[in-house]
Amino acid sequence: MERTQNNTAENLGYAALGLAIFLALWQLAGKTGVAGSALPPLTDVVNTLRDPEILPLLVTSAEYTLASAAKGLFFGGALAVLFAAVMHLLPPLRPGLDRLAVLVNATPPIAIGPILIVLFSRSQTPAALAGIQVFFIFYVAASSGLAAASPVLRRVMAGFGASDWKQMMYLEAPASLPHLASGLKAAVSASFLGAILGEWFGAPQGLGLMILNAMQNFQIRLMWAAVVVAAAMSLTVFLAVAALEKFVSRRFSQ
């Protein structure tokens, strides 16, 4: 126990050190101008972030992107789990849906964007694109999770005369939770990617839109500030989900 705690502290130390070196190099590169005007010094970006005229704009945009990502995560995830459960109970349907899921996943999101704008509205496209990114990850996690229950426990269920539905509710669903938690960890980043990318197709607000506008108007510092906010937001949610995953995998291990 103590050893793991030591390791965790050590890892955190290394992570902080790595981050500090990265930020210092960024500052140095910005000051010396090795990357031209495209890479401003870190302090300039921080000053932009603290600018009372820009900060509220960044916050509203971040909220909008966060809402889109969360919406995509929720609906994409829920739909994927539902599909995986139906496939699990009706195996004959499985090969067809597996192929469809792979096909959707193999299509570049940038190519699906225009289709989504036609199908949904411009403001719903970020959430829809996030949902598509999330769907595949959750579908794979839920399918493999539902198949992960141990053979001995399956035998117990059969011996007690459990129907397929009850077996799923009482054994396979809880046994799949660690897989779903791992899936969630991967899906969080994917949902932010989907949401930000989705905003490039003409969403009314959002960090993606801000990044795109700032780039086209040569507001380099604003662009970097938006990128930093997006990265910080994604990382925070990721770390929270990683903690959740740790708890779930311990609580529901077989």
Binding site: L153, V156, M157, A158, G159, F160, Y170, R251
Partner: protein
């Protein structure tokens, strides 16, 4: 409790073979005919790989026979399982790790779509000596305690047939002996038709009314009635007659 409860098991010309790969046939049960009377405790001993666990799985309806029939009280095993009239316990306690002892004992009720009989769950927990551990999860219990919980769970729905697959096989000798004594006491209260698969000759003799010795592949080599009256007490384990029978069965096993 009634003197005799449970259903009779009728096994006729039972055969089971597996095909692990194309062209390879493994014969697990060659040909077995066997009748277990209602309320009888039958123990099956045999060397590893002789097909005794397969036999139990066939009686539980977990496997389908390649030939012959198994009937329990005139019904197919799978039919009996579907009606939630089977009780089972395995070497691996096979408790759901995320549920407490209480939750694991409530499970058979939920799987059967019945209201959880709280009083029965509690009385079974007390019967197997787990009072005070109702809320403990399996990982917080010792191996012996987990097996007690598994035995209690197998009795939850008052099954017609109890199937025990090496229930104490993974325990140390002292715990195993103590649990044998307890199982004999518990079993006397219910006197359900019981099939026990075990490696231990002493366990078979102490618990059962009849011992069947199997040999590989999947056939009955010998059988013997166990004459000791119930209730059986620990001093039976020290009696000369007990040891003589144990030696005889061991000779059959080594043959």
């Amino acid at each position: 409790m009634a003197a005799v409860s449970g259903a009779a098991i009728e096994i006729r010309d039972l055969a089971k073979s597996f095909t692990p790969r194309r062209g390879v046939i493994v014969e697990a049960i060659r040909r077995i005919s066997l009748t277990v009377a209602a309320g009888e405790f039958l123990a099956i001993v045999g060397p590893s790989g002789c097909g005794k666990s397969t036999l139990l799985h066939l009686v539980a309806g977990l496997e389908q026979p390649s030939g012959g029939v198994v009937q329990i009280g005139g019904a197919e095993p799978r039919e009996l399982a579907r009606q939630h009239r089977l009780g089972m316990a395995f070497q691996d306690s096979a408790l759901l790790p995320w549920l407490s002892v209480q939750g694991n004992l409530a499970l058979p009720f939920k799987l059967a779509g019945r209201d959880v009989n709280r009083e029965r769950v509690q009385s079974l927990i007390e019967l197997v000596g787990l009072a005070g551990f109702e809320r403990a999860r399996p990982s917080q219990l010792s191996g012996g305690m987990r097996q007690r919980a598994a035995i209690a769970r197998s009795l939850c729905l008052e099954p017609d047939v109890l199937l025990l697959d090496e229930p104490f096989g993974a325990l140390d000798a002292v715990t195993r002996r103590r649990l044998n004594i307890e199982l004999e006491r518990i079993w006397r209260q219910y006197a359900i038709t019981t099939l026990l698969v075990t490696h231990s000759v002493e366990e078979a003799l102490f618990l059962s009314d009849r011992v069947i010795v199997m040999r590989s592949p999947g056939a009955i080599a010998q059988e013997t009635q166990v004459p000791f009256p119930r209730p059986r007490t620990p001093d039976l384990l020290r009696r000369e007659e007990f040891h003589r029978m144990a030696d005889q069965i061991t000779v059959w096993l080594e043959h």
